[in-house]
Symmetry: C2
Subunit: 978 residues, 2 copies
Amino acid sequence: NACLAPLYSLEGMHIITVEGIGNCRRGLHPVQERLAEAHGSQCGFCTPGFVMSMYALLRSSKQPPTKEQIEDSLAGNLCRCTGYRPIIDAFGVFAKTDDSLYTASPSESANGKAICPSTGKPCLCRNETDVNGNESSLLSSVKTYLPSSYNEIDGNAYNEKELIFPPELQLRKIMPLRLNGFNGVRWYRPLKLDQLLQLKSCYPEAKLIIGNSEVGVETEFKNAQYGVMISVTHVPELHTLKVEEDGLRIGSAVRLAQLQDFLKKVIAERGSLQTSSCQAILRQLKWFAGTQIRNVASVGGNICTASPISDLNPLWMSTGATFQIIDVNNNVRTTVAKDFFLGYRKVDLKDDEVLLSVILPWTRPFEYVKEFKQAHRRQDDIALVNAGMRVHITEAEGNWIVSDVSIVYGGVAAVPLTAGKTESFLVGKKLDYGLLDEAFNLLKEDIPLAENAPGGMVEFRSSLTLSFFFKFFLYVTHEMNTKGLSEGLDVANMSAIQSYTRPVTTGTQGYELVRQGTAVGQPMVHLSAMLQVTGEAEYVGDTPTPPNTLHAALVLSKEAHARILSIDDSVAKFSPGFAGLFLSKDVPGANNIGPIRFLQKKNIGPIIHDGEVFASDVVTCVGQIIGIVVADTHDNAKAAANKVNVKYSELPAILSIEEAIKAGSFHPHTTRCLSKGDVELCFASNTCDKVIEGEVQVGGQEHFYMEPQCTLVWPVDSGNEIHMISSTQAPHTHQKYVANVLGLPLSKVVCKTKRIGGGFGGKETRSVIFAAAASVASYCLRRPVKIVLDRDVDMMTTGQRHSFLGKYKVGFTNDGKILALDLEIYNNGGNTLDLSLAVLEHAMLESENVYDIPNIRASGKVCFTNFPSNTAFRGFGGPQGMLIAENWIHHMATELRRSPEEIKELNLHSDGTVLYYGQLLQNCMIHSVWDELKASSNFVEARKAVNVFNSNNRWRKRGIAMVPTKFGISFTTKFMNQ
Amino acid sequence: NACLAPLYSLEGMHIITVEGIGNCRRGLHPVQERLAEAHGSQCGFCTPGFVMSMYALLRSSKQPPTKEQIEDSLAGNLCRCTGYRPIIDAFGVFAKTDDSLYTASPSESANGKAICPSTGKPCLCRNETDVNGNESSLLSSVKTYLPSSYNEIDGNAYNEKELIFPPELQLRKIMPLRLNGFNGVRWYRPLKLDQLLQLKSCYPEAKLIIGNSEVGVETEFKNAQYGVMISVTHVPELHTLKVEEDGLRIGSAVRLAQLQDFLKKVIAERGSLQTSSCQAILRQLKWFAGTQIRNVASVGGNICTASPISDLNPLWMSTGATFQIIDVNNNVRTTVAKDFFLGYRKVDLKDDEVLLSVILPWTRPFEYVKEFKQAHRRQDDIALVNAGMRVHITEAEGNWIVSDVSIVYGGVAAVPLTAGKTESFLVGKKLDYGLLDEAFNLLKEDIPLAENAPGGMVEFRSSLTLSFFFKFFLYVTHEMNTKGLSEGLDVANMSAIQSYTRPVTTGTQGYELVRQGTAVGQPMVHLSAMLQVTGEAEYVGDTPTPPNTLHAALVLSKEAHARILSIDDSVAKFSPGFAGLFLSKDVPGANNIGPIRFLQKKNIGPIIHDGEVFASDVVTCVGQIIGIVVADTHDNAKAAANKVNVKYSELPAILSIEEAIKAGSFHPHTTRCLSKGDVELCFASNTCDKVIEGEVQVGGQEHFYMEPQCTLVWPVDSGNEIHMISSTQAPHTHQKYVANVLGLPLSKVVCKTKRIGGGFGGKETRSVIFAAAASVASYCLRRPVKIVLDRDVDMMTTGQRHSFLGKYKVGFTNDGKILALDLEIYNNGGNTLDLSLAVLEHAMLESENVYDIPNIRASGKVCFTNFPSNTAFRGFGGPQGMLIAENWIHHMATELRRSPEEIKELNLHSDGTVLYYGQLLQNCMIHSVWDELKASSNFVEARKAVNVFNSNNRWRKRGIAMVPTKFGISFTTKFMNQ
């Protein structure tokens, strides 16, 4: 979260960076060394983050952390290419806990019997006949990491003392701050509450800041501007954490991570009786953002931000918490949480008031509190719906009835909603199944979600409100039952109240080691690994910018399909730092970006003019580039680009494959057809016992390379030559297109790429448009230009994995043997052809997957839609083709009431199969691989176990599958695709 | 002279740069276009200067300039690789005068007869048999430049209007200035005399500045510091130029170029009678510095600087000029020039006084003034000795006697010296030859030059003082004779008084055009020419420096041979901007720089450790690198480097080839011997009619590439990789040495060289030591480091062409046929071996030149001396070997009293000759080439004409020679050297 930490807030702090803990010249820190040696870095862009998360954990722990703590500490780090297994493996050695996965002792593996160190069982990946050391013997390659505490780690090369907190900072007297920032911003840091209140009286509109995790986002993405900011991180009165008679007093500036620690301590000391609320809050905090955010975000910040999807506010409300508020005249008032939230981000707090603390009351006997949250993913995600519920059950006339209840939902309205009618209905009643129907009906009234409610997914979210309550009901019922005061739940329902716990991640990768020469066949640590774990590896963004470098921001289309009426820069050009706006008319060479293959044939300009560097007349998608603004800083460029006023006349847009098919909107010359046998004849001949038809939709996917698209362009020989450093998978394409766009010979354009932070196909052809746009500005102004896309712009403009639509008709026998497949396949090309035709072809080539189909006909088309042009993505159409195949296989299995694996096994390719694109399969291993894997994984047993689990658990299910695939190489050049 | 113009002085000016007048994208200015198309740029480093000198001339001339003006305007520009012929040819088209060289009309050359456009005669370079258009016909290649005025020039590509002086500057009111500069410097620009006087009263120590041509040099090279500077360029009272009754009044701030124009006008108006002084001063100004300096330097600046070698001060003194001086209280006093100069740079001017003007009196009838100057070269050089002499002859009693005489010499003492005794002796005497002996004796007393007089060359300079007077005597005698008042000079003496006039330079280059394909065989304009004439071509110094770049300065040995006792940086490290000092102990890899060939064999470190990056213990020459200082600016780095205090213990040094031979000081393993026939036997056999012996010394030579040694080094991947851009002839050598010095693999070191501003061998191996030194600083600090040698440092440290000593013994017949040569050849390798052995070998291979010598023995050795290591230089030893050969050929000719050409012709190689290194000559063309050239140049006639001229002219001589050479390729690899 470094990007959210204002520089001001670092006053007096000691900052440790990945470069500071170790480097290649002086020696790697053990954390760095482990990650490199365990192959835990690939593109390396995310690597410093992982290293520092782990380092921070080790530095903050008094004893070696557990594996769970390690995984938790990495929850805020994303990796897109290495995969998490080797990273977690690497850091596993720093854990104090042991695990069978890592305990293969040398004696065990030395007794001649091949023990796989990852499973502890006889090794499947090892060829037993070769054990006795033939030169070519296959050795197990799973590296054994012995558990170790972090001071036992090798660290041979690390010869520096661990960094200490500088004594000069420790001895330093903290002073109140008043700093002046860019654009007239002022930053105050009072050291006492009365200083804060005095500031607040001078600047009632001042924003109070603790972690900046909300204000930072508002400033960055919502153009919020705060002139005066008061950092309250050093006001001790706001940092109270006290156990009091009526509950816990929690200062508003207390960080969420501190609150977690404090709650754990309180729960441990007081036991569960009084701490049901504490426990609910603690459990909710586990899924509240990630470690890095919890380390800085504060209790009061979350409350006052009053986000409609705050995970905590429904809990404060339902637990009956109260807020203490102080005004600038030192008057303190108290309000209950329930009354505090007035409207969308509007709270009961005046400009001259400050939230002082929260008082969380103890729970009474038979008072139960439970938290709920449903999000797309558990970690680091915001809720779709969340809730806090509390019930107090008391004995009245021999009956245990609800004496008090509080049900509050978040994420369903502008403020957390209390289910008042439901509460009233429940009070005085005995909690039993009989109440549920009426409670559900009332809940629907209490928590209405209009069809067009912000956030969408209305049906799902409505059902979540009910199911949360149902789970709460089951929970309380179960709790009462444990005290003998209620009937027990049936076993199938128990799964609804068991809270989710994920075991520590485990995984192994098995491969053969065949030494050939010095390195071939060995799992060598790649050459950049050491540079990546130390942060020394330079990416485009790290390249020092030459003097006079300008920074670029794009003017993007806001319409999916529209005619450009006018482009007005009269305001933009007076924006601070503005240095130029470049449009299609400014392109010195050709404004066209065409499909790469056509360009390759004719070196000069694209034949199919289906793409433009800058939209000249008509825009065909949201996010299409209309112009580029360059300015002295990235921020100024963005601000100026925002001020370019484009007027459009809207045109009808095509926004799905279905719409494209309906409108006949296809890219020209993209119809493809492949066939084998005679599908028509087969269907007509009555040999098929069954014929099924269906549709499969395969969605798109953002590449999400960690390093966004970026290029640094600079003129050489005063602009008669253009050089660039680009994050691209195809520097030669950059050279070619930029030369074309600038009207320069190829010899005068140089593109270099040292390394990139992920690409996955997204930097194969699409990266060039940003380099080309930047080069126009650089060429015209004869100044260096750097373009780095913000993540949101990158996602908006660069296209994705192609979404597909497959329509199938399959004929087969009752035994499950496939006889005929008639397939129509469409992909969503977006607004230019780019690589879509090749992707379509590849999907078609993979669309029989590994199944023998005597009669097959596949026809494909690339749909033109008003989306950013979709492009290459890992698999290049293959996964989509296979997924469609796996879908109709499952459809067959359902039809025949057999397991999909049986159907698959029955139809697998075998030696002599001629694929529908003409290849004769020889030495086909698929049957033996299938059988070996089925046996080694105990698939049949596992399938049975899954079935048993599913029939025993009503609210939680498991799945299992075996999916065979093959994958052609060489993309779609047919004769090479074998 | 841009380097001497303080930024302050440009206030209110319009600056036109080479980039401003035209560029590749918008079109070239005609001046640029001509220079490129006439092949007038090679390395291109000097090219912008030539363009701007020409442009300035055209812009300042109301009508097209003459060829003489063009050459004059280029006198301040140096070129080291293109040669001046194509440059002058290129600009010749802008001249208004015509010349037979450029008048070949199309009709003449189109009549089928091959007329060479450069000579107007039937073309010798054209094969007559091929005239009628065979495909392979040889075409005359001498391009015809038709004369043209500069607005008739093609300039097709030039589509910009000529730049105008900006109206806003023209309309702008000039204001007095008070500017604050770096290091507390203050710059005043008063607009009136009283403002100046007031400033002078406030700051008596203030320096008055006009052209900064003296102060700029003092500041740059002599560490002079002036806190307060007053620019008097805008004080009208100091710019007087008036014809008055008693003479000319010349304001002290008048520029020398203005004075030239004014004198020309006055002389034209007044005729020669009153203007003998004016004429002498005008003639002296022609050789006073160059146009650029005369454009800025002032009359008063030159007077007050009081340089002992001022070209004008002896003239002011001898002409009887007076100086008007004003003090801060407005009192004006007058002093005669003779009394103004008090001592070394000490004049009769108090701190509160300002030189106002000079009054140059008219000359009377029979009053003659003459200027004298002898320098190493005529243009842009300072005098060895100069002088001003005036005599007034009057009739007394029927005799024309000297009534007044003034003889003043410059360059012979701290102040211009008046020859008082000689003057007294002459007064009242009649000027005739009889006076000369006594006058010479008195002159020797008047102008004593001690043996150790500053400036050296005492004997030569002494004789100059006498010969100047002799010339003056002849001049006056001749002048009186023209009036019939004296005997005439004999014809042989006339040559002493004819003033030197050089005709406009002419030259042609003839070559064959044989078209092969599109470009081969054609005189194509090279690809960078357009970039070079527009100044758009980037050299190392133009490469934008990355942020945080440090600048380097070297700590150099001040001793030729000494032990380093201590290196003290205690003062240096507190110097402003200091960032580090790196010495031998700081080198991360090997501190050795060895000969390139040994390195090539063993890729890692040099085998012969005969050079160090930084001297570790002992220095072996003045200028050897001891350390490198890096700082934020180049100036700060130099200042800090000056403060590094190195203590030495002196050791005996070897400072010449002779000393080395005497001491047996040779580089190890460098003795070489080549022989053919039997020299001893031949000398012993009495077949030689004559045997001569002798020695030839061949001096060294500074490379003087226009672009000094420079490298920009920067770390990549945080210093795990080192990249550099270097001005070098061998980037691969930079890569290899820097990798070695830093201990990095070759793959982690990159050196790029786009173009260099001349090298000539001086950037073949020696450039690497500066790159290596800079790379140590860059690597250790992980910051970019730029090193650019100042010219003086470059000349001091980089080594030169090898000086040689050849000792020969030649036996030959009376007919002139060479029978035997015994040769010992030594070169001065300096303090490391570098390429000296290869240079020696190459000299040996060329030391028979083109002469057939039946018996030859040559032995060679490389001398170790305490000079900077000498290195490759155009010709690589070849010229030295040939020069030695030509010397003994001349010795033979003298011995035989025949012309050298006869001896050469007699001994030329011919088909079947076996060279002494074993090559059999086949198809040897030397005889036919020799004969053809001798005929086409009318050599025999020309030789006769030279002889006649020389016998007719006692004081001026001509020479003529034909020198044949051959040159082996592939340096010294014998089998390829043919």
